[in-house]
């Protein structure tokens, strides 16, 4: 009911100025060439909270993983099973598979598990990370329930030749080596990066689960990873641009046993090859983009008693066309198709699946003060179509002058998630699962101040996210585990953020903070699970906060990053919890310049306050540890 009230409210906004705008529709014939591509997909996300990971931070942390940077810069709770180990996201209180991760517009959540392990996404494999908070099925398709993370390479292309080399060292046998280069001219741009990373992770910890709490050295937690990325764009002429992105990553990681279990020498290997190519064409009819991608995902899990190999090949294509219908009205229509071929030993047979979707996105800047977007997607999967996914949203500038702007935002969006291949084709899988579906409502205020050397940006968002038909594996009568559409979950919360930049002669200061309150509870269970209703879900912290401060002075830089994670219940009854913790990472660096050569030395102290903490119960995490980064750059 509330949904329709909200819709009519939004359509009221849409309809009223729309009628007034009719008079100048003739201008629509005069299709002017505009640079519509290069416009981010978030252009169609009016009214929702979209943040970007600070590129300076990504650069400083280029040897780390997406898990670590998300932990220090976003309200997303990373469920980390040990140091540098499997890390999955709980975004706005949702499950690990309810955050979509897209690379150049293609979903990289594995089709078998339906999630991304953020510990094997190195920061050097992307240049930009955009975080879409809340459901956005119309724009990002399956999985975008709690939110979406969009990874792309840099928009800034190099000119001439650039070279980089980097060597990092750290505590517990940590080492990271990377080599990179780029070349650019008016037509061609190339960027290459290759890296290798390893860690012993043999840190000491007190085993509080054993008699006498002995100090032990962590076993079976070493990491090895290597990979490369290749980006290329070729501008044939002013109308046609071709692009290519390749990303290969290999990870061979031991799986850290927790303090309680026997070490079964678990090991997880992942090999991911992702290739995509694009063609963008501009004409009087608008802008057309055609993209094709091929992913080869290999996963091998083994321990003393198990050996499981998963191979999935994904072929996919997207085509979209954007037109500027009127001065400030842009429309994009498109479609995509995917084909999965899975070779999973446990399935007992080869499994393939075809999926398709059509979408249309509209952005209308009716007045300078009012921006609207309305998007729609329908995915088509034989046997079970996900629900039609609409989004409508607005930005209304309550105040807009060169110094101050204040925007009121509102958005309502449908999200959905198609069950994974494991959910359906595992021997005890369930072919009758229907897609999870969510409705997300949010509203917020964003204030920006630009005054001489000072910039302040502050945003507050309130959301209400209802997820229905939540899929969970539960035992059946004969004790076999099977996925079911089990729950209806409601998540409500507040997200606050502020960022400040101040420039003063040779000193530049930047600082920021994030706070999120997340209340997520099961409202309904479709089977008598015994799990109590209206209790905070396990491993969803009610309070999370991050803060950072950077100072740049001449060739020096100093940086502090703080993560605070509130208590998290570990039982459905909310009678046990993990205590809250705060992690502080510090960095100091100096850059030496000799003509076109640049050397940089960065020292790091991680967990500077020596906090003893756990993100997942009984998984030991290291206390204070150190890192050193030596970086060389030409041009």
């Amino acid at each position: 009911m509330a949904r329709w009230v909200y819709f009519s409210f939004l359509f009221y906004w849409l309809g009223l100025p729309g009628a007034q705008a009719q008079t100048d529709s003739l201008r629509g014939k005069d299709l002017r060439e505009v640079q519509v591509f290069g416009q981010p997909v978030t252009r169609y996300a009016a009214g929702s909270r979209v943040t970007t990971l600070d590129s300076a931070f990504l650069h400083l942390q280029n040897n780390s993983t997406l898990a670590e940077v998300l932990q220090f810069r976003t309200p997303i709770y990373l469920k980390t099973y040990g140091q540098g180990m499997l890390a999955t996201a709980a975004f706005r209180g949702t499950s690990a598979s309810q955050t979509a991760v897209l690379w150049h517009g293609f979903n990289i959540n594995t089709p078998t598990l339906g999630l991304t392990d953020f510990s094997i996404i190195p920061v050097n494999s992307f240049n930009q990370a955009t975080i879409q908070h809340g459901s956005a099925g119309a724009t990002y398709g399956t999985g975008a329930i709690g939110g979406a993370i969009l990874l792309t390479s840099s928009e800034d292309q190099p000119t001439g030749l650039q070279l980089q080399a980097q060597q990092d060292f750290g505590s517990f046998g940590y080492s990271y080596t990377s080599l990179g280069g780029g070349y650019g001219n008016a037509k061609l741009n190339l960027q290459t990066n290759i890296y290798q990373r390893q860690a012993q992770n043999n840190f000491k910890f007190r085993n509080i689960t054993k008699f006498g709490s002995p100090t032990e050295k962590q076993e079976n937690a070493s990491l090895t990873g290597r990979g490369f990325t290749q980006d290329a764009t070729f501008k044939l002429n002013s109308r046609n641009t071709f692009g290519f992105h390749g990303w290969y990553a290999f990870n061979d990681n031991e799986s850290q046993p927790n303090m309680v279990v026997a070490n079964t020498h678990a090991r997880l290997q992942n090999e991911n090859l992702r290739l995509m190519t694009s063609w963008q064409h501009q004409s009087a009819l608008g802008n057309t983009a055609v993209k094709a991608a091929f992913f080869n995902d290999f996963m091998h899990y083994q321990d003393d008693n198990n050996n499981s190999v998963t191979k999935v090949q994904t072929y996919q294509a997207q085509a979209e066309h954007a037109v500027l219908l009127k001065e400030k009205l842009s429309l994009k229509v498109g479609g995509e198709a995917q084909y999965f071929a899975a070779d999973v030993a446990s399935y007992g047979r080869e499994v393939s699946e075809k999926r398709a979707a059509i979408f249309t996105w509209l952005r209308y800047n009716i007045f300078p003060r009012l921006q609207l977007s309305a998007n729609l997607r329908q995915a088509i999967i034989s046997g079970f179509n996900p629900p039609l996914a609409p989004t409508v949203g607005f930005n209304y500038y309550l105040k807009n002058n060169p110094v101050n702007s204040l925007v009121l935002k509102g958005n309502i969006s449908r999200g959905y998630r198609v069950s994974t291949l494991n959910d359906r084709f595992w021997p005890t899988g369930n072919l009758n699962l229907i897609p999870e579906a969510s409705w997300s409502y949010e509203t917020g205020l964003k204030h920006q101040l630009k005054k001489e050397q000072l910039q302040i940006s502050t945003e507050a968002t309130l959301y209400h996210l209802a997820v229905d038909n939540w899929i969970q594996w539960i035992p059946n009568l004969i004790g076999q585990w099977q996925p079911q559409n089990l729950k209806k979950v409601l998540s409500r919360g507040v997200e606050l953020s502020t960022e400040v930049a101040y420039q003063m002669q040779t000193i530049k200061l930047t600082a920021g903070s994030n706070y999120a309150y997340t209340h997520t509870e099961q409202q309904k269970s479709y089977q008598a699970s015994g799990e109590p209703l209206n209790q905070q879900l396990i491993y969803v912290p009610k309070h999370t906060a991050t803060a950072f401060g950077n100072i740049y002075h001449k060739n020096w830089l100093g940086s502090a990053n703080l993560n605070f994670t509130g208590y998290r219940y570990t039982t459905a009854e909310n009678d046990r919890w993990l205590p809250s913790f705060a992690l502080l990472n510090l960095m100091v660096g100096k850059t030496f310049m000799f003509q076109r050569y640049q050397f940089q030395v960065i020292g790091k102290i991680n967990n500077a306050t020596n906090q003893v903490y756990q993100t997942m119960e009984y998984y030991a995490m290291p206390q204070r540890n150190y890192g050193l980064s030596l970086r060389f750059k030409f041009n």
């Binding site: 689960t209 054993k210 008699f211 279990v261 007992g348 539960i474 015994g530 799990e531 039982t571």
Partner: protein
């Protein structure tokens, strides 16, 4: 809690001390024996918890007050019990907790539940029994390889010997200085001499024996699940599977005296238990609970309880039937009690995944 005022506290001490003096001075012989611990008398419920979550727990139920302490090991010892508690056994005022995925046995004082040590060096341990100050632990060791029984010196709580048995050894009982071990993934029972700790003989019974009890006539009853062959979708291939059976073994000559096959090839009977008088058996079959008199010669057709339980037992003190409902393992399970005739009595919440009981 706020501390009482010093003067009041002094007064309190005086009163307590004089009361104690009064009682002890008055009639020391008739005063009840000092309790040996908070958990001297009652029902222990073992909760296996979730795999790799380290949330196994022992809940304690007081029959008189009907109160439950959800996790007594952690309450007393301030550390978690471990990962996947499989079973629990009592011997000489000690409790032995077999923690499968921690490859250990926790040893506690059964009255106080204070930790007395940990037996390590085990591989997928399952069940425990003791005699002659020696403990015997069945271990799977590994999937697909022969299981073993580790012999434990209960004074030093260390493994002194290992004895190879069949595939996936499960429950064991000790009778007449012999250890009877059912091998769950084959069709045999291994018999070990508890004097020499050597394998004496292996008797072929029926496929997948999972539990065994000794009755009042000193006969051993073994419940076998039957051989199960699965289709690719994990349903049972009935044409290639065999039905389970209830078997009476005479330990004097290791002869099978009675073999009662079940009707269904699909379902596996399990959880064989016996009452305090040792004349009535209880077991789980096809999602229901059945009762069987040891004098009977045919399996019952009517269930005692039309309900499935993850764990089952009978209180020898009261003959009440205890059923453990583990639900979906996502929240605390519960225990439902039934009168001997099968009418429900009451229920109480325990911890995650209750699987077995120990009555004291």
């Amino acid at each position: 809690m706020k501390n009482p005022h010093p003067v009041k506290r002094f007064f309190l001490h005086v009163v307590l001390a004089s009361t104690a003096l009064f009682f002890t001075a008055c009639d020391p012989d008739s005063s009840p024996a000092a309790p040996k611990g908070a958990y001297e008398k009652g029902v222990f419920i073992l909760n296996e918890g979730n795999f790799q979550k380290g949330n196994s727990a022992v809940s304690f139920f007081d029959r008189d007050t009907k109160t439950v302490v959800p996790d007594i090991f952690k309450t007393v010892n301030n550390r978690p019990l471990g990962d996947v508690a499989q079973s629990m056994a009592a011997h000489n005022n000690r409790a032995y907790l077999i923690i499968n995925n921690s490859n250990k046995v926790e040893v506690v004082d059964i009255n106080t539940f204070g930790s007395l040590g940990t037996i390590s060096g085990l591989a997928m341990p399952r069940y425990f029994a003791a005699v002659n100050n020696k403990g015997y632990v069945t271990e799977w060791v590994n999937y697909g390889s022969k299981g073993r029984v580790s012999v434990i010196d209960l004074n030093t709580t260390t493994v002194t010997k290992t004895i190879e048995v069949g595939l996936m050894p499960e429950n064991l009982i000790i009778f007449n200085n012999k250890v009877y071990v059912v091998n769950g993934s084959e069709n045999t029972i291994s018999i070990i001499n508890a004097g020499t700790d050597a394998l004496e003989t292996t008797v072929t019974l029926a496929y997948s024996p999972n539990s065994l009890v000794l009755d009042r006539n000193n006969k051993i009853w073994v419940l076998a699940g039957g051989k199960k062959v699965y289709n690719p979708d994990f349903t049972v291939n009935e044409s290639q599977s065999t039905a389970g059976s209830l078997i009476r073994l005479n330990p004097v000559n290791n002869a099978i005296e009675l073999n009662l096959p079940f009707a269904s090839r699909k379902d596996s009977p399990g959880q064989l238990k016996i009452n305090g008088a040792k004349n009535i058996l209880y077991y789980r079959y096809a999602g229901k609970i059945y009762q069987f008199d040891i004098a009977a010669t045919a399996l019952p057709t009517n269930a005692l309880l039309n309900r499935n339980f993850y764990g089952l037992d009978v209180d020898p003190a009261t003959d009440l039937i205890y059923g453990a409902d583990a639900g979906f393992f996502t929240a605390n399970g519960k225990v439902v009690r039934f009168n001997p005739n099968g009418t429900p009595l009451d229920s109480f919440q325990v911890a995650i995944g209750p699987n077995s009981f120990l009555f004291r």
